[in-house]
Amino acid sequence: MDDLILETKGLSKQFKGFAAVSDVDLRVRRGTIHAVIGPNGAGKTTLFNLLTKFLPPSSGTIHFNGKDITNDNAGQIARQGIVRSFQISAVFPKLTVLENVRVALQRKAGLATQFWRSEQSLHKLDAAAMQLLEDVDLASFANASTVNLAYGRKRALEIATTLAMDPELMLLDEPTAGMGHEDIDTVTELIRKVAASRTIVMVEHNLGVVSTLSDTITVMQRGSVLAEGPYDVVSRNPQVLEAYVGVTEDA
């Protein structure tokens, strides 16, 4: 039990009296892929926002590696190794693909605040950046401008950028949304690959992806945890079926 990487206790968030997240106890074990699913508006994205401090919790605590991080700010949390992706793709559109990844590498390399040094000094990060791009099959686009990438590639790039942070814990919000089928497979593979050495928490509506990837699933509904467990267990839970999965005879 001591290999919990992330633990929340009684985590809640109210918006003007509306409880978007209420009393969530989330326990994520190190080295697993943990999926959070639930109907729309259940509070999944809000939960992510709380974990990364994009929103301040109304109450409750968050522990990361046993340390209380409830009062840290967004930047501090990211620097401790919790990095997220966004539900809507988040890239730096006017930078090149390579630069996108490099920006993420800069901070750790200590090449971020030096306004007196030349840009040339950044080239020593190029190799590492290229390696990451290769991992997500984007190496051939290294010098392309990011705006022109197709949607699926932007998501891949986002993952590469997130990886560049070498996070201990990655939070992925709907990594496959809006992707065509072949892209979904690629991304699924990619997540599996990067999960080897880290912990992943993800929100996903594509049950196919969830079932193939996740070790544990937390089902949320109306801000609270409805069920938790491995896919086989959760997917047979009648409450979950009713609230989320629906009748399996799929239209």
């Binding site: 994009f54 967004a74 620097r79 966004f86 800069q106 090449l111 971020a112 007196w116």
Partner: protein, 333 residues
């Protein structure tokens, strides 16, 4: 593994050296043909606009109160040199430092807001600086500080000699200009660009965005101050015009005319606007009208400014089919 070869920039990089050398040479020879004080004014305003451009063009923060930094540095430098007997180089340092300090204070307050609100906060704070300049005992109210001696640089170069002064100002300008270039093309500049493109993402990558904005703000204020302090020595006077909001507007105009977010744009803009101001002076009351029309024409037709427009024209000629001109999108409103 094949590292990306940066093809396009390399030809430009090869041309850059000689081009800059040529410009420098022109700068060195200019006083032989152009009236030196006029050139010095251009350098001061060019630097001022560049400082503004650093903040707006590269960090997306549209300051409407940059005159506060230009002006406060000018007052501090003027007072230090005239009343405290500082040598010129220390006067300029004092002015620049004061502006940077003021930039720190204003920046702290302003960067908490975004878009048009940011602009308004800077404007409001600048109005307060104006108010102080009007009321404070050492600023001379609307008469300003007049008859400021230029003094001797490092104790032996007599700056009353126009040429000595000219090369001194040129040196400061080149330094300031290089500083902007360096900042923009540095690891810091790269992060800045990222922040401007997608702030939440930059935060999630662990960057303390507020700090980057603040540093940029302080740098920009300091450079504006450098321009202001230098200007004080050139004209030997400081007045309320230097802290008035219309002077902030002038920085915007120059930057826009020259090309927002380009390195050379603000300088080109300063050349154009300062020259116009002088050459149209004989036209009397039509000056404001003509300036207004130029302003409108720039916004409607040449939004990328002179440098931006010629750049994309150049690119379009080289790379067919044409790339649609991309209008700079600045702050998130």
């Amino acid at each position: 593994m094949n590292l990306p070869t940066q093809e396009a920039p390399s030809t430009r990089a090869r041309l850059r050296g000689p081009a800059i050398g040529l410009l420098l040479l022109l700068g060195l020879l200019a006083p032989l043909v152009v009236y030196p004080v006029f050139m010095m004014k251009i350098y001061c305003f060019g630097l001022f606009a560049s400082a503004f451009n650093l903040l707006f063009g590269f960090a997306g923060l549209m300051s409407f109160g940059h005159a506060a930094f230009l002006g406060s540095a000018a007052y501090v430098c003027g007072y230090a040199v005239k009343s405290l007997g500082f040598p010129p180089e220390l006067g300029i340092l004092a002015g620049t430092g004061a502006a940077a300090l003021l930039g720190f204070v204003v920046g702290r307050l302003a960067i908490r807001r975004e878009g048009i609100y940011f602009s308004m906060v800077t404007l409001a704070l600048a109005q307060m600086v104006y108010f102080i300049a009007l009321q404070a005992p050492f600023t001379g109210s609307e008469d300003g500080i007049q008859g400021i001696p230029r003094g001797r640089l490092l104790g032996f170069i007599d700056l009353d000699n126009t040429y000595a002064m000219y090369y001194f100002v040129l040196a400061i300008f080149v330094f300031g200009f290089y500083a902007v270039y360096r900042i923009v093309h540095s690891p810091f500049g790269q992060v800045l660009k990222a922040i401007r493109e997608n702030e939440p993402r930059a935060i999630s990558l662990g960057y303390d965005v507020q700090r980057y904005k603040l540093v940029t703000f302080v740098l920009s204020a300091g450079l504006a101050g450098l321009a202001g302090a230098t200007k004080t020595l050139v004209f030997q006077l400081v007045t309320l015009t230097d802290v008035h909001w219309s002077t902030s507007g002038e920085a915007v105009l120059m930057t826009l005319v020259g090309g927002l977010g380009t390195i050379f744009g603000p300088f080109v803009g300063a050349v154009v606007i300062v020259s116009l101001e002088h050459h149209l002076a004989g036209l009397g009351s039509w000056v404001t009208l003509i300036m207004g029309l130029i302003f409108m024409a720039c916004v409607l037709m040449f939004r990328e400014g002179i440098v931006g427009t010629s750049k994309s024209f150049w690119q379009r000629r080289k790379t067919l089919p044409a790339i649609p001109p991309e209008t700079p999108v600045i702050a998130k409103a």
